[in-house]
Structures are given as structure tokens and as C-alpha cells.
Symmetry: C2
Subunit: 337 residues, 2 copies
């Protein structure tokens, strides 16, 4: 079952007054250096509320839940961080309680932010099984309704609103600047795949010939293996990467969207991601977390540009989050520079 | 002699295809925490080309120079960094050579950026006299035309284009969101005063009742002393502050604009500026240099909000630059946290 573009449009109507329409930025230096002859549009959801796109899906899911069950008292999820904050914020906004189960290797700042928005945070072992177990225990004891961080149509439709925004924002820029007629390609980070599912649906609906590429760390390459074998193939262990938000694996529903809408999967090394993060900070003045920078990292590699983007002019790269503390975590980046 | 709003409009026509219209961002967390009941609009020229507003004035000045003297071969300036980069970029774009004299305490990254854009960089003692001497020597030996970093109508009009952008961007947001009818106050960092002169002219032309506040470090308080005594009173020595871009003093022309258009001057400590820089990085995901964050620092102080902004609803704070390297310079911020 794939989501429909009309459901994404309905999600945008539902949530648009509670989220930011995040800006699209450009950099001539980036274009000249890494993608000569192309227009690169950076869609910056690091400037989104709670610092990532996750609020889009969380709000859509919780607002729909409140429509269906006005008496709902609490929600619960498991998350490596960004969805935890987002669900906590969405729950607060709609007046329900929020429980989150975080793997023990979750970045402290992300846990703190969820608590700040009023969530009850508990920790678990960093495995998919332990995350689900922890959430189930809370459902049993509190009656909270489970909200999955990515494997649900409401989440996918919420995340897809970023795709609708890109389409209208890039069209405005193209009309003003007369540099082309449409979006030719989009690069989207993939962890669990909710964002990829939503954005790819919106883009392919509007521009059926546009290419959609997923990007993930080479050590957390379940999307690539699943895509190549046409079989859902999760990561066996919790992979090691500086992209803490992309360690999770795709689910059946997001895998199905990928197979329907996505043209290929690009892999990036942590070194490439660190360099992209640094470029975004020093040249584009943006704080982007490593997970949020993988699409930019892919564009900084000639091999990807030559292999996948030949002849394509207008490229949107999605920057998914900015929850990274350069004042205390810079070693994570500097080790590669 | 004060510049006229029509000259600022002409400047915007001249340069608009070569600069970014930088975004306006907002933060509910900031509003709730520091300015309850107000709408705070962050005009983000840290995302401008070359990382600061300086390109606006530099481009206007060099393009006008080329109109008047099509055969001009070189330009020269003295600058603590951001104007150096900007003039280098503007010169490259218009096909003239560029020389810059930087005080010896200029941030290395800013000098490097000017060189990267093709400028010939020489160093001098960190005093106003030495800067002017250095520039004069280059004029003598090369015939380059001097472009002052702030004390010239063309520069003032170029910087004022940021004011015109704010007016149209905030009006769009106000019309969409129905949260008021106009800009009620603007906060602008002041070093040499070119930006303050230009923005204040544009704002007062459109909204004569709006308040315009200059903001500067308490250790580089020539604007405050000049404003209070109604007499141009430069800083005696090159002041010590983490705001390296605001150590310079106002000139007669920018002082005259301040006395005509500005309602008061707010002072901030380096500690307050460091905290503002940290908030902008960690919560708003923006890289802002200390000089660029002083307006935000002023808004984070209750005393300023109560004394100067009582009853004012729609406040624009100008973020002037982002040329700061959090991966290597974070100690400068962390010492205060």
C-alpha cells in the first residue's frame, strides 16, 4: 500500500500553520566546485521546528490521531533522537502526554530536548528489538498509543510535505531566474525511509521523469542492499557511523515506496559526510548534523555526479536536520579533516 | 549630506541579481524565552554571499565606479576582514583588480577568503592611521581607486538594500499571518556605521514611527558616546572585544545618519554576545560571527527589552555576518559559557 499525493497535500493543509516553510539556499561556490553547470537547491529542514523534518510527520500523525480519538491521553515512540523531540513537541501542542524510548547511544542533547518539550524518556539497548520491547512495556502500563517513527502512512505523508514545499519553492526560483523548467533530481537521506517515501511520492507525482536518489552511510547500507536485491534486507547490527540518525533500518512500507519511486541509492563514507558538514558550516553558515549532510556529501563526490546526474540540471538536495553541537561535538567532525 | 531612500532603491535594482535575498527566520523558543508577546524576525545576512552584508555596499560602489569610469583597473580598501572579502568578490565580478590592507589582528580565515577571491592582501598595524597609510601607499604605487568600507554614500546605499528587503519580507509575513501592520523596531549592529546608516534610512522612510536601535560591544562604544554627546567621538584605541568586525569607529557621514535616524544605542557585553552566538548555533542552527550576533544579544537582556521595546510588537533583528569557524575558534565562545 503506497500513500497517495492527495494525502500528502491534506497533511500539508493540516500542519502548515504549525511548522516553518524552511528556506531554500544556494551556493555558487558549491556549484562551481562540485557540480559545474548545475543548479543545486539546498532545502534546509535543519531550520525546521525541533531542528529536523521529523516534526512534519509527528504532527500529522498526532493531529490525525486526535481527530479519530479525541480522548487520547498519551502517545509513545522509540527513536534515536530527532523523532523523540518532534513527537514530544507535537504532543505538547495537541495536549497529550508523550513517552519516548531512546537507545542508550542516543546523543544526550537530543534526549534533553525531548525532555524539555515535556516527554517522559526511558533508555533501552541499542537494538530494534529492545526499542520495540521498551515501547510495548509503556503501552501496557499507560495505555499510550504507539506512533512509529517512520513505518506508517501518516508519518510518510507528513514527511512528504517537504517535497510539496520544494516543488513550489524551486518553481518560484526557476520562473524568476529562467534557469530551467522543472526539478530534474532530488537527493534524500535514508534511515528508516519515511522521509524518502514521502518526498519521492510528491516529486514523482509532479515530475514523473525526475530522478529520486536515496543517500545513506556506507556502513548503514540496508537501503542499498534492499534496493539492489529487491528484497527488504535490514542492517544486521546497529551500525557504526557518525550519522546517528541513519543507523536504523527500513521497514516493509518504506521499502515498498522506495521500490516504486526511487531510482538508485548512493553511499557516502563518514569522511565524506564530515567534509560536507564542514562545508555547510564554514561556507554556507549552517549547522547541519552529519545525518542531515549525506545528500550534500554525495554531491561532493565526482563519481556520483558523473554516474547518476549526467545531463540533469536542477538538483534539490534535502538537508534533514541540524541537531549537532559544534561547540562540544566538533571532534567527531575534526577527526576526518 | 544624508542619502535618500530613492538612491537605496536604485542600489537594489543595480545589485539584486548578484546578491542573495537572504531569508528571515523566526524562533518561538526565542520569543517565549526572551521577548514574550513580541514577534521577532531574524534577517539573516550571514547567509549572504561572502558571508556578510558587506557585499551589498561593495557591489554598489564598484558597479557605480565602473559606470563612471569604465577604464578603472583596480580598487583598494582597508578592512578588518568582511569588507575585504566583499570588495575582492565585487572586483572579480566586474573585472578589476583588488588590493586590501588588513590590520594585523584580522581573523586569518577572513584574510584567506579575500585572497581566494583574488585580492592582493597586505598587513598593517591595527590602528585607523596605519590602515589609511597602507591604502595611500597602494594608491600611489598602483593608481587603484580607494573604496572606503563604510564612510561613503554608495556604500551606505548598498547596505541599505538590506532594509528594503526586510520591509517587503516582513510585510509578506505580516499579511499572511495577520500579526500586525508594520515593523515597529529594528536592531542593527554598528561598527563603522554604514549598515546602520543605510538600514535606518530605508526603515524611517517607510515607517517614520518605527524605532531604530544601534547595538555595539560595551568596549567599543563610540556610537553610544557619540550619540549621547551629539558629537562624533571615536574609540581611542583599537578596542578589545570578541566582535572583531565592530572594533572600528564611526565617521562623520555615518554619525550624521545616526543622529538623523537612530533612536538609541544599546551596549552588550562579550559574555552576552557569546551566549547569543551559542543560542543561534544550537537552537536556530545558524553560524553567526560574534559581531553579527550583538542585536540578538541585546534582545536576550531583559533590561533592553523593558527599557526600549515596551509596547513594540514586530521587531526585526539584523544578523550581519557568519564568518566564524566553530570547528577551530569555539574557545572564543566557550570561555563565557
Amino acid at each position: 500500500m503506497l500513500v497517495d499525493n492527495s494525502e500528502i497535500e491534506a497533511a500539508l493543509e493540516r500542519i502548515k500553520h504549525y511548522i516553518h516553510q524552511t528556506p531554500i539556499l544556494t551556493s555558487q561556490t558549491f556549484e562551481h566546485t562540485f557540480c559545474p553547470g548545475k543548479n543545486i537547491f539546498f532545502k534546509c529542514d535543519n531550520f525546521q521546528k525541533c531542528g529536523s523534518f521529523k516534526i512534519r510527520g509527528a504532527l500529522n500523525a498526532v493531529m490525525k490521531l486526535k481527530e479519530r480519538e479525541p480522548d487520547v491521553e498519551a502517545v509513545v515512540t522509540h527513536s534515536s533522537g530527532n523523532f523523540a523531540q518532534a513527537l514530544a513537541y507535537a504532543a505538547k501542542l495537541t495536549g497529550v502526554s508523550c513517552y519516548v524510548v531512546c537507545p542508550s547511544n542516543t546523543v544526550q542533547a537530543k534526549k534533553d530536548a525531548a525532555k524539555e518539550y515535556g516527554a517522559h524518556v526511558t533508555e533501552c539497548e541499542p537494538t530494534e528489538a529492545a526499542r520495540e520491547e521498551g515501547a510495548n512495556a509503556i503501552i501496557q502500563s499507560t495505555g499510550a498509543v504507539f506512533v512509529h517513527p517512520y513505518a506508517h502512512p501518516d508519518i510518510i505523508c507528513g514527511q512528504g510535505t517537504a517535497g510539496l514545499e520544494m516543488i513550489s519553492q524551486v518553481r518560484q526560483q526557476l520562473e524568476n531566474g529562467d534557469i530551467g523548467t522543472q526539478i530534474d533530481a532530488v537527493l534524500v537521506p535514508v534511515g528508516g525511509g519515511g522521509l524518502l517515501s514521502g518526498i519521492s511520492t510528491a516529486i514523482k507525482y509532479k515530475y514523473p521523469n525526475a530522478k529520486v536518489f536515496a543517500v545513506e552511510p556506507e556502513t548503514a547500507n540496508d537501503a542499498k542492499r534492499s534496493f539492489d536485491t529487491r528484497t527488504l534486507t535490514p542492517n544486521e547490527n546497529y551500525p557504526t557511523t557518525i550519522c546517528d540518525g541513519l543507523r536504523t533500518s527500513m521497514s516493509e512500507i518504506t521499502f515498498n515506496h522506495m521500490m516504486a519511486n526511487v531510482d538508485n541509492v548512493m553511499l557516502v563514507s563518514d569522511e565524506e559526510t564530515a567534509k560536507a558538514t564542514r562545508f555547510l558550516l564554514s561556507r554556507m553558515k549552517m549547522c547541519v548534523e552529519p545525518s542531515g549532510a549525506v545528500g550534500v556529501a554525495a554531491l561532493m563526490n565526482d563519481n556520483n555526479v558523473n554516474k547518476y546526474l549526467k545531463g540533469l540540471k536542477n538538483i534539490v538536495v534535502f538537508i534533514s536536520g541540524g541537531n549537532f553541537d559544534f561547540l562540544t561535538q566538533s571532534d567527531l567532525i575534526n577527526q576526518y579533516l
